[in-house]
């Protein structure tokens, strides 16, 4: 198992006491495609970042177990974590343009990620960076390699981040909304690329997305989060048969291209869904 997480809790100190954002999440990730969907603010990103202990300083985190490939993440030293982050496990963050270094070109950042893992000369790394940009379907990879983050379009920023995380051949890829700014054709290509890495190299994937049809088609299994907890787990292909009223409600809110509705249904949130257990 790449990731074992038992009873993860993440809280923030506020003037009114500690507010818990993640309230007892347990999951495992193997060599598979795990999807995570759920309410905005339900703790998906915090759960993902916990695996690499990349939480804000103000957060308190506890877990009965939190392991990456058998390594206890919560007690590991910074040095041990650095050997995991960006090398054995890549995290594609939700706001890519703001996660990139603003004063380094896209190409230089990818080259650095590649070199940190594979060594080689600066020149080889630059060439590898341009190859990676071409692999994520950037039209004009040599030009884009020379751009700074603020000069990238939204979807280019996402693809630079993806290229950077794929550069060191990670064993685990945690992807937080990796394709939300991509048009459908590029998205399909990127997913094929990731699929290939999972199938050929046995990479594990944790895919966080609001795109239910996408997750249902692409993943093996899906966890549904609501108010800091996993409320349901289903086989991805059976997502449309989900049982929890939150998941059912979500499916009804989806706008459809072929079957338009004048007004979209909205969800009535039941306080019982977020009651303490």
């Amino acid at each position: 198992m790449l990731v074992r997480m038992d009873n993860l809790r993440v809280g923030f100190r506020t003037p009114q006491g500690v507010s818990e954002a993640v309230r007892g999440v347990s999951l495992t990730v193997g060599q598979e495609k795990l999807g995570i969907v759920g309410e905005s603010g339900s703790g998906k990103s915090l759960t993902a970042r916990s695996i690499l202990r990349l939480l804000p300083g103000s957060a308190t985190v506890t877990a009965d177990k939190l392991e990456f490939d058998g390594i206890d993440v919560l007690s590991a030293r910074e040095g041990a974590l650095r050997r995991i982050r960006g090398k054995r496990a890549g995290l594609i963050m939700q706001d890519p343009k703001y996660s990139l270094n603003p004063v380094m070109t896209a190409g230089a950042q990818i080259a650095e990620a590649w070199r940190a893992h594979k060594g080689g000369s600066r020149r080889q790394a630059t060439k590898a960076a341009i190859d990676l940009l071409a692999q994520v379907r950037i039209r004009d990879p040599a030009r884009v390699a020379g751009l700074y983050p603020h000069e990238l379009s939204g979807g280019m920023g996402q693809r630079v981040m993806i290229a950077m995380m794929l550069a060191p051949d990670p064993e685990l890829l945690i992807a937080d909304e990796p394709t939300s700014a991509l048009d459908a054709t590029v998205q399909a290509d990127i997913l094929r690329l990731i699929e290939d890495l999972v199938a050929k190299r046995g990479m594990g994937l944790m895919l966080i997305s609001h795109d239910l049809p996408l997750v249902s088609h692409f993943c093996d299994r899906v966890l549904v989060m609501y108010a800091g907890r996993v409320v349901e787990e289903v086989k991805a292909a059976d997502l449309h048969r989900a049982k929890h009223p939150y998941t059912r409600g979500l499916l009804e809110c989806l706008p459809s291209l072929v079957k338009p509705k004048p007004q979209l249904s909205v969800l009535k949130r039941d306080p019982a869904w977020s009651a303490p257990q």
Partner: protein, 252 residues
């Protein structure tokens, strides 16, 4: 082109030697919505930034309500025309609390009733009032995006330029935001331009849709024709096919 709220004619934008928008024209009637979809990197955000006055380096002709736009815009313009950025951090200052971000447009334009308006704005985008005194980095991605939408609506603009406004939202919040936009359009006759990669979202809000590829507007199509598959350009056809394939109601 004077009957339109927004008219853009032969808009060109270049960065250095790179032509990014290569002569784009479209118009939006008052109280209407125009959608923009298409290839990533094709110039959609660049067009919105030029219309909203953030990039003065363009050529062509742009009019709002029949008045030609100059490269530099005054305060009155920014009250009438607001933009929600693709990247919510682009709309929010990292050192400002949400309260400050929402009250600032009111203070700048001398609008009173601040307390009531802030609470209403938060509720309209389904945010709990507990986020009010937090900083942007203390919110989830979708919460930040909702603050950006609420902020753009604060000064009651007439034109709203929306760049991927719902891409970070779960579909239940997305439905609330889309319904809010439709309701505001009915009650205040707002005019929208919305960029999105989600064809179902664009077609829901916008009767007319422009398809971009490589800096050109390659097709302008009605939502009805897009739904029915009466597409002209290969890029549109491909985008539609992929969207329908994923959506197939038998599957999800």
């Amino acid at each position: 082109m004077t009957a339109s709220m927004i008219a853009v004619e032969n808009l060109r934008v270049r960065f250095g030697t790179q032509d990014v928008v290569k002569g784009v024209s479209f118009s939006v009637p008052r109280g209407g919505s125009f959608g923009m979809v298409g290839e990533s990197g094709s110039g959609k955000s660049t067009i919105l930034r030029a219309v909203s006055g953030l990039n003065a380096d363009w050529t062509g002709r742009m009019e709002i309500d029949g008045v030609a736009l100059m490269p530099k815009r005054g305060r009155a313009f920014f009250r009438r025309v607001q933009m929600v950025f693709q990247d919510p951090y682009g709309s929010l200052h990292p050192g400002q609390t949400i309260d400050r971000a929402l009250s600032e447009p009111l203070l700048v334009h001398g609008i009173g009733d601040i307390e009531t308006r802030i609470l209403r704005a938060l509720a309209e985008v389904a945010l709990p009032s507990t986020v009010r005194f937090r900083f942007p980095h203390q919110l989830s991605g979708g919460q930040r995006q909702r603050v950006a939408i609420a902020r753009a609506l604060m000064a009651e603009p007439e034109v709203l330029l929306l760049d991927e406004p719902t891409s970070a939202l779960d579909v239940s919040v997305q439905a609330e935001v889309l319904n809010l936009l439709s309701a505001l359009q009915k009650s205040r006759n707002l005019t929208y331009v919305m960029v999105s990669h989600n064809l179902a979202v664009v077609a829901h809000l916008c009767p007319m849709i422009g398809v971009m590829q490589g800096g050109n507007l390659v097709e302008t199509i009605s939502a009805e024709n897009l739904r029915a598959g009466r597409t002209q350009h290969a890029h549109t056809t491909e985008l539609r096919a992929l969207s329908v394939e994923l959506e197939d109601p038998e599957e999800v």
